[in-house]
């Protein structure tokens, strides 16, 4: 009764074929990642040390450490976050919790989608025009960070909206029925249950910001600076730009130095991604409904 017919055999063979095909695609996908990481570790791993991370570059950036660039990246990312997170989260809360579906919100939505599609070099030029020149911040951490903030705003808004949307509507209605205002509902029920998702999105955004080069190159990041930034109106070195510089602009840089910078940059991004993933896993275990 259950003997295999010719059709069964054929189906099985086709099914196996596709399984192997898809598996191969998947493997192909991770090959570049593995190669990149392996190359960086092989060629740059030797230079990584506490000294490398915490001393200044010397000999026209052909030797020494990367401390000013590392610190500069932290500055730029932190200030960018301070600007984009409150703005993006507020906008997402407004769009998801207050605004109805009307022409106004639809235009905003369209704007957000388009903002996400603008190439980073265009953001860079906008940053020069708006923050460096018009607002008169000069080439500074502030200008670079604001440029980055605008660039990453759509990511923050979209991921925050996703987290808010994941909170069931029934919770809101139960609160409203009790006489809670929209804000009370948001504060006591919606946000506490969305905050971890929002943070996950923010961390992902940070990792993206860390590696950006074009938007900061004309607005605040310097080729080489012999001193550390003292405030947001100073220029600074940054890891991503430093990598570009030592890899292509300065003659006589030893290979392992350039690869070392790249390794540190990738390690920062990976670290933040892992935190974000760990966070998400922790959340899944703690899901409250």
């Amino acid at each position: 009764m259950f003997a295999e017919s010719a059709l069964n055999v054929r189906n099985k063979r086709v099914q196996n074929l596709f399984r192997i095909l898809f598996l191969m695609m998947t493997v192909l996908l991770i090959i570049p990642v593995v190669i990149i990481l392996a190359t960086l570790i092989a060629k740059g791993g030797s230079i990584i040390s506490i000294d490398f991370l915490f001393t200044d570059p010397t000999n026209g950036m052909t030797a020494g450490g990367i401390f000013p660039a590392l610190l500069g990246t932290v500055w730029i990312v932190a200030v960018a976050l301070l600007a984009s997170v409150p703005l993006g989260v507020a906008a997402a809360i407004y769009l998801n919790e207050y605004a109805g579906d009307n022409w106004f919100t639809r235009i905003i939505q369209l704007a957000i989608i388009n903002l996400a599609g603008v190439p980073s070099i265009v953001h860079a030029l906008f940053g020069v025009g708006a923050f460096v020149i018009f607002f008169g911040f000069g080439t500074s951490i502030l200008a670079a960070s604001l440029t980055l903030a605008i660039m990453t705003l759509p990511v923050v808004i979209v991921s925050t909206r996703e987290s808010l949307r994941a909170v069931p509507q029934a919770f809101r209605e139960a609160c409203w029925n009790m006489g809670a205002t929209r804000w009370q509902t948001i504060r006591r029920v919606v946000l506490p249950n969305a905050v971890s998702g929002i943070l996950t999105g923010v961390i992902l955004e940070v990792s993206r910001t860390t590696g950006e080069t074009a938007p900061i190159m004309f607005t605040g990041a310097a080729f080489f600076l012999p001193f550390l930034p003292q405030g947001v109106f100073d220029q600074t070195m940054a890891l991503s730009l430093h990598l570009f510089v030592v890899a292509t602009q300065v003659p006589g840089v030893p290979d392992n130095l350039a690869f070392g910078v790249a390794l540190v940059l990738i390690a920062m991004v990976l670290l933040m991604n892992s935190i974000s993933i760990a966070f998400r896993m922790y959340l899944r275990g703690k899901k409250k409904w």
Binding site: E173, C175, W176, N177
Partner: protein, 271 residues
């Protein structure tokens, strides 16, 4: 025939000695529309203090829509329009400035229990907190009282700090009732509360409601006609967006009806 009509008219009126209680809620010419399509039209009825007022009717009769207009939840649906007059404690709810205060005086229990993603304690303490009560000792008293009245205290008193949404369906529904009670409501509205609750718990909740009626007015929407018979003093029958009739519950079940459709529904001939 004439006698019967007089009876029914009386049942609907305040002068009836059996229902001398003051009017809690008075609805006249209420029409509810969703985007122009009427979901309920021309409803006239009165709910008296300390009665359990039943609303029975098949699906899509407009029962839930009716409840929503009473506590002005229609404001969250731009598609929904309400005409007519609803007087709650003599005040027209459509003109109220402070609809939040109105809602906080009306407890609502939904068909499917909604345990908020908070601890059991916080589920019940939320409404008092919204009213500005902060003292732990005060909250403790409220939480214990409300959970006890909802017949849940004994089952949860040792785990008040665990999540409300982890309780069983029947427990969650009693938690919802406790939460509604924490609002110290004037009016308690239950919308098909037993849909996701086992029969034993349903009976417990029904006993709770019989007790609560001494302290508040209750509107009980139910798809179980026998539940209305067990609990409701008077009952309205909604059908396809129309309030077919309002009468003393027992009359509806003993065939003393104005409209043949009521008899058919009560006898289970349709719906």
């Amino acid at each position: 025939m004439v006698d019967m009509n007089v009876n029914l008219a009386a049942a609907n009126k305040i002068e009836d000695p059996a229902f001398a209680a003051p009017v809690k809620l008075s609805v006249s010419d209420l029409t509810i529309r969703y985007g122009g399509t009427p979901a309920l039209s021309g409803v006239n009825l009165e709910v008296r203090q300390h009665e359990i007022f039943g609303i029975i009717g098949p699906p899509n009769a407009g029962k839930t829509s009716f409840l929503k207009t009473l506590n002005r939840m229609d404001t969250f649906n731009t598609n929904m329009s309400v005409e007519g007059e609803i007087l709650f404690n003599g005040l027209n709810v459509q003109n109220l400035k402070n609809i939040y205060a109105l809602r906080s005086r009306i407890g609502v229990v939904f068909p499917l229990p909604v345990g908020l993603p908070l601890t059991i304690y916080e589920n019940v303490a939320l409404s008092p907190r919204l009213r500005g009560i902060k003292r732990k000792s005060e909250l403790d008293v409220i939480v214990e009282r409300c959970l006890s009245r909802a017949a849940l205290w004994d089952e949860v008193k040792d785990r008040l700090d665990s999540l409300g949404s982890l309780l069983s369906g029947g427990q969650q529904q009693r938690l919802t009732i406790a939460r509604a009670l924490s609002q110290e409501p004037d009016l308690l509205m239950l919308d098909e509360f037993s849909i996701a609750v086992d029969p034993v718990t349903t009976m417990r909740i029904e006993d709770v409601l019989k007790e609560l009626k001494h302290d508040m007015t209750i509107i009980l929407v139910t798809n179980l006609v026998q539940q209305a018979r067990r609990l409701a003093d008077r009952t309205a029958f909604f059908l396809e967006g129309e309030c077919v009739e309002v009468g003393v519950t027992e009359d509806l079940f003993t065939g003393e009806v104005q409209d043949q459709r009521t008899r058919d529904y009560v006898e289970g001939k349709f719906g």
